[in-house]
């Protein structure tokens, strides 16, 4: 165990040139996943999605670290499609005990279960799967991206507040679409909305040409509703539903009005500064995955600075404690749920042009932290790994 700059940090006063030097190495592993085919070519997925956020987090930690005698290093490993993610993780864990991961759920749990990962700190920055926060949770795996459930609950709170209580749902066929549709249905039940109709998107024609003809008939069968929910997480068909519905109804979910961990339209609470720092560095907009990777690395920065330690057990305890708070540009301090390692965070509900609302919305109370009205709360969780 190495304790760094402890004396200095405890006295809370540091000279301009801090005496002790701490080097904190973070491993970043990005596992390339095949992009599912979509109808429109309008939205290219950036190659450095999540990675660019991690790099900004590192730059932020370095700026702070230079006043604290800390040096921060990010070792980036990109695993190509079909590559050996576990071998990459093993190699990274030989050099550091801290990893930020961009990988699908099954790879995340496989990495967390490696003998080399025991007692390590792993951060999931890109997988929204509910199971990772529930039955498939791991004590060494934290989540900075909100779960599907958190996003769906955020949207449901907005619908309740607007009194748009009758909703219909169209879901795509991709597993991500199904997962988000399930989360939406769970939120519909949790917040006592009514699901009036549900359909799966089955068209295999190119909707760019005939959406205006097909979508009205398709949505006609959904019954009377206030708002039409679309679960299209891969961005395939949702854009062709908007303004083509049988009834003149707003669209929400994966399209049009979207609950997001982060979006370029978020500018309040100093967010404009984070956006412009990111844009200067990456030359593009900051995605939710970038935000989650940034938050993971800033979490480590906060923990090392506040505890004056780079001991993993000390950092883990601090991150899960009440004392931890991260200023995440969302108007409230962010912290981690001690029952499953999920980063608590407000969820902006956005269009392409503006933030319409930010959940938790006023009137949704919680006995502890209002942020826990979003996603799986302590009494409901089936995650046991964090109780050991």
């Amino acid at each position: 165990m190495r304790v760094i700059g402890l004396a200095a940090a405890l006295s809370l006063t540091l000279g301009a040139a801090a005496a002790s030097e701490t080097k904190v190495r973070i491993g970043y592993i990005g596992v390339e996943q095949p992009a599912p085919p979509v109808l429109s070519n309008l939205d290219p997925v950036p190659d450095d999605r999540a990675l660019a956020g991690a790099r900004l987090g590192l730059a932020d930690n370095q700026t702070t670290g230079k006043f604290m005698g800390q040096e921060w290093v990010l070792s980036e490993t990109l695993v190509p499609e079909g590559g050996d993610a576990l071998a990459a993780a093993r190699a990274a864990l030989a050099a550091t005990r801290v990893l930020v991961l961009d990988a699908p759920a099954e790879t995340l749990t496989a990495i967390a279960d490696l003998p080399e990962a025991e007692g390590a700190l792993l951060f999931n920055a890109t997988a929204p799967d509910a199971a990772l926060r529930d039955g498939a949770c791991r004590a060494n795996l934290f989540h900075t991206l909100p779960s599907d459930a958190m996003r769906a609950d955020a949207l449901a709170q907005f619908l309740v507040q607007r009194r748009w209580t009758d909703v219909a749902l169209i879901s795509g066929a991709h597993p991500r679409d199904h997962a988000f549709a399930e989360a939406l249905k769970a939120s519909i039940a949790k917040f006592r909305l009514t699901l009036t109709g549900e359909k799966e998107w089955v068209f295999d024609a190119d909707m760019r040409r005939n959406a205006s003809a097909e979508v009205p008939l398709f949505t006609q069968q959904l019954g009377e509703h206030d708002v039409l929910l679309v679960a299209d997480e891969i961005g395939d068909f949702g854009r062709y539903v908007v303004y083509n519905t049988w009834l003149p109804r707003p669209v929400a979910g994966s399209e049009e009005l979207v609950p997001q961990a982060w979006s370029p339209v978020v500018e309040q609470w100093g967010a404009a500064q984070l956006q412009s720092r990111f844009e200067d560095q990456a030359h593009r907009d900051m995605t939710p995955e970038d935000y989650a990777a940034w938050a993971a690395i800033r979490t480590l920065g906060e923990a090392v600075t506040r505890t004056g330690s780079d001991d993993i057990a000390v950092l883990r305890d601090y991150i899960l404690s009440d004392a931890f708070e991260l200023a995440g540009f969302k108007g409230r301090p962010l912290s981690f749920r001690p029952w499953n390692g999920q980063l608590r965070q407000p969820i902006p509900i956005v269009t392409d042009r503006a933030v319409v609302a930010t959940a938790p919305l006023e009137g949704f109370f919680h006995q502890g932290n209002e942020l826990d009205t979003l996603g799986r709360d302590a009494p409901e969780t089936t995650c046991r790994a964090f109780q050991e």
Partner: protein
Amino acid sequence: MLRLTTALALLAATPAFADEIWVTNEKDNTISVIDADTLEVTRTLETGERPRGITFSHDYSRVYICASDSDAVQVMDPVSGEILHDLPSGEDPEQFVLHPDDRRLYIANEDDAITTVVDTETRRVVAQIDVGIEPEGMAVSPDGKIVVTTSETTNMAHWIDTETETIFANTLVDSRPRHAEFVKDGAELWVSAEIGGTVTVFDTATQTEKARIRFAIKGVHEDLIQPVGFELTPDGKTAFVALGPANHVAVVNAETWEVEEYLLVGRRVWHMAFDGDHSRLFTTNGISGDVTVIDVARREAIKTVKVGRFPWGAAYRPTGG
């Protein structure tokens, strides 16, 4: 605070007539000038883009304005309301403080992690000092020897020696420090932390923490209690602390660090300024787009004055003579 002590000295010499409170409107690119007696807006002046920090020269002949998105500090004639010239300021100047020498302006460059020192006479940059991420709060000790910059994302107060223009100490504070002031003749430095929800009191001589002030308002979640701007009465006994989205100003006993009262003001209360005799306090309320006037002795909000969009900074200007 520096400009207040100076204001007092000036007032003693020349009794004031219709004094003014100047308020920068961040999203209107204007300044609203409020008559401190009638509590009406008498003038609305054009500025550069996104005006935030505002302060007057010691003789009140010039007003300095941080026009953040114009990347300039503007110098205005407060009588005519005309912009005289711009000062080089570094990128995205947010907040600044004028040195007791009435010449050096210390500017926080929010986007650049730099504090820029500008000579207002030669209009040249004298020094640039690397600080933490998103510098914002700026304070200068009454003897002019120390300037403090706080950085929002690094969560530190950086102590700058004004003779060498270098940092001589860094002290951690709670999350997202926003505002700093030397108080009690410079014996203490106060720093507010927006996300941390605290005000930290430092002993200036040793740069060590003396106290941490916490806030609690019934019916308001602690996460929404976000201290930003604050001012102390000239006797150093009472502090008024703006609590951002909690929409309250806390009245703090500055000797015991205890909160005595919470005053309801407008939405997202940000910064504040006293009038000349410190009988009234003017708070900028960003979201409601207005200024709350507080009777200091009665500790009561007495009026709301509509100004421009997102009022940010406030400064007092005596007009008598």
